[in-house]
Symmetry: C2
Subunit: 321 residues, 2 copies
Amino acid sequence: MSLSEFDLIRQYFSAATAARDDVILGIGDDCALLQPPGGVCLAVSMDTLVEGRHFRPGADPVALGHKALAVNLSDLAAMGAEPAWVTLALTMPTADTDWLRGFVEGFSALAAQHGVQLVGGDTTRGPLSITIQVQGFVEEDSALTRSGGRPGDRLFVSGQIGDAALALARATNSPSSAEEAGYLQQHLDRPMPRLALGRLLRRRAGAAIDLSDGLLADLGHVCSASGLGARVELGRLPVSQAVAAECAAGRWQYALAGGDDYELLFSVPEAKVADVLRLCSGADQPVQEIGCLVDEPGIVLVYPDGHASKEIPLGFDHFRD
Amino acid sequence: MSLSEFDLIRQYFSAATAARDDVILGIGDDCALLQPPGGVCLAVSMDTLVEGRHFRPGADPVALGHKALAVNLSDLAAMGAEPAWVTLALTMPTADTDWLRGFVEGFSALAAQHGVQLVGGDTTRGPLSITIQVQGFVEEDSALTRSGGRPGDRLFVSGQIGDAALALARATNSPSSAEEAGYLQQHLDRPMPRLALGRLLRRRAGAAIDLSDGLLADLGHVCSASGLGARVELGRLPVSQAVAAECAAGRWQYALAGGDDYELLFSVPEAKVADVLRLCSGADQPVQEIGCLVDEPGIVLVYPDGHASKEIPLGFDHFRD
C-alpha cells in the first residue's frame, strides 16, 4: 500500500478502542509495551478468518469486525481469562474506506464492551484475511483447560447450538422464512463470547472448551486431552426450534458438527454442580446439562428413543468435508 | 483443511522450537498460558508477509521461515527487548508437506538461536500468507523508543544498507555476477535481527528503530516521534561495493529508500558515544555514524561533494511506489 493509504488505515484504527492503564506504549512504535499484573499467567490465542473460507465474499464488514474479535475472545472465555489486549493483522486488496469504517465499528463495539485495547498489528495489501491475537490474564491454578475433566463429571453446554451451521446451510440450500433466517444469521455473524460464564467457572469447572469445530469434534478434544470418553444425551441438546426440526428429521449434523457456535462446553464435578447452576442462573448464563464424562474412551450418543450408539449419525462425515 | 491435514501441520510445528520454563501451557488448548517475569513490560510486535507482495511466488520456504520470524525479532531488537514467545498464523492453499518441512526448518533454526518458543497460532486454507507475533521482555525505563531522540544526538546505523533492495532490483532488471547475486540475495532472504545490539543499547541509545521501510522513511519516523530533524552525511552510509557503485552513479534509492534491511538506526547522546562504540566493537556489532539529530524539522542530506539539500534525490518517489 502507498504511504497515504497506510496512514489512512492507521487513522481508522488508532482511536478504535479504549485506553487501558496497563498499555505503556500502544500503536506507533516498533513494539507495543504492555504491563501485565504480577502473579498471573498470560492467556494468548490467535485466529485467522480468510475470505471465501470463513466468510463469503461481500460479507458485512461490521459483522466481520465483530466476529473476528469474538472468536478470539471466545478462546479466552474457555480458559476463564480476563481479556486485555488485542493485535490485528489485516490484509486487504485495496484500502476501501467504507469497508474499513464498518469493520472498525464492529470490532471496536465488541472491544469496548469487554475493555479490550488494540495495541498493535500490521496492515498489508493482498487477498482479504484477518488475523487477531488476544491476550488476557488468568491465575495459573484457576485456568480452565481441556485436560481438566474427571470421570463422572457432568457435561454442560451454554446457549444454543447448531444455529450458525443451519444459517450457512439455509443460505446455500433451502431458504428459511425471513424471521428464521434473521435469527439464524445473527448466530452465525454475531457470536457473543461467553466471558462472564468463563469467569464464574474458574475453580469450579473441570474441563472447558469453546465450540468452534462442532460439539462432537470439540468434545473429542476434551476427551482426548482428559484421557476419557463421554456420554451425550441427544434429547437434551439445547437447540432452537429450527435446529430441533432438523434433529427430529434425523439430521443431527447441525447440532453435533455444525461448528461456529462459540458456546462453551464444560464439565463440572458432581459436588460443584449445584453451585455452578445457581451462579449461572444468577448471572443470566443459560447452560444445559447434556451428559457426562466416563472412563471408557469414545463418545456414546444416547438417542431420544433410548438407544445408545458409538456410530456417528448418517451423513455426518460428508458434512464434515 | 481436512482434519488429517490439520493434524499433519500441527505435527510439523509442535516440536518446532525449544521448551521454555515460562510456558505453562503451549500449543493444544484454547489458549497458551505464559508466565511473564515480574516487573518487566511485554514488548509485542506483529507482522504479515503476503505472497506476491512481500515475497515472490515459489520463494524458498526455508528462507521464508527464517525471514518471517526475523522481521518480527527485529522489532524486539529495536526496543532492546529479550525475545521469548512467538505465535504463527499460517494460511496456505494446500497442505504441501515439502514446503512445510522447509518453512519449519528456517523458522525453528532462528527460533532456537534466540531461545524463542512457538506457543500457538492458527493454520488455515487460503492464499499463502504468514502472520507472526513475537513477545519479549524489557524494563519500562530501558526500552528503546522512536521518540527518545534529543537534538545533538549522533545517528548510527548497523551493518550495511541497501543490499536487499538491490537484490530485488537486480532480480527483475540487470542480473549481477553469480557471486554478487548470492551476496545480495542473502541480505534479502536472511536478515539477522540485531538482538545483541539492541540489548547493549538499552539505557544508552536515545531513539531506535529497525530499518524496514528504508533509511529515510524510518529516520522520518524517528524525527517525527522525537519532534526533531536530522542531518545525514551520504558519504558515510555503510554500503557494500555493489550499492556504493549505485550511489556513485547517483542512484541513492537503494541506500536511502530500499527497505528490508532490518538493521538498527539509533541515536546516541554525545556523552555516551565512546561507551557505545567500545561495547559494539567488543560485541562484534558493526555500527557506523551517519549524521546527527537537529532541532530544525526535516532531513538534510549532505552529499559527498559537500553540498547539502532537503531535496529528495531524483528517481526516489518513483521508486517508492
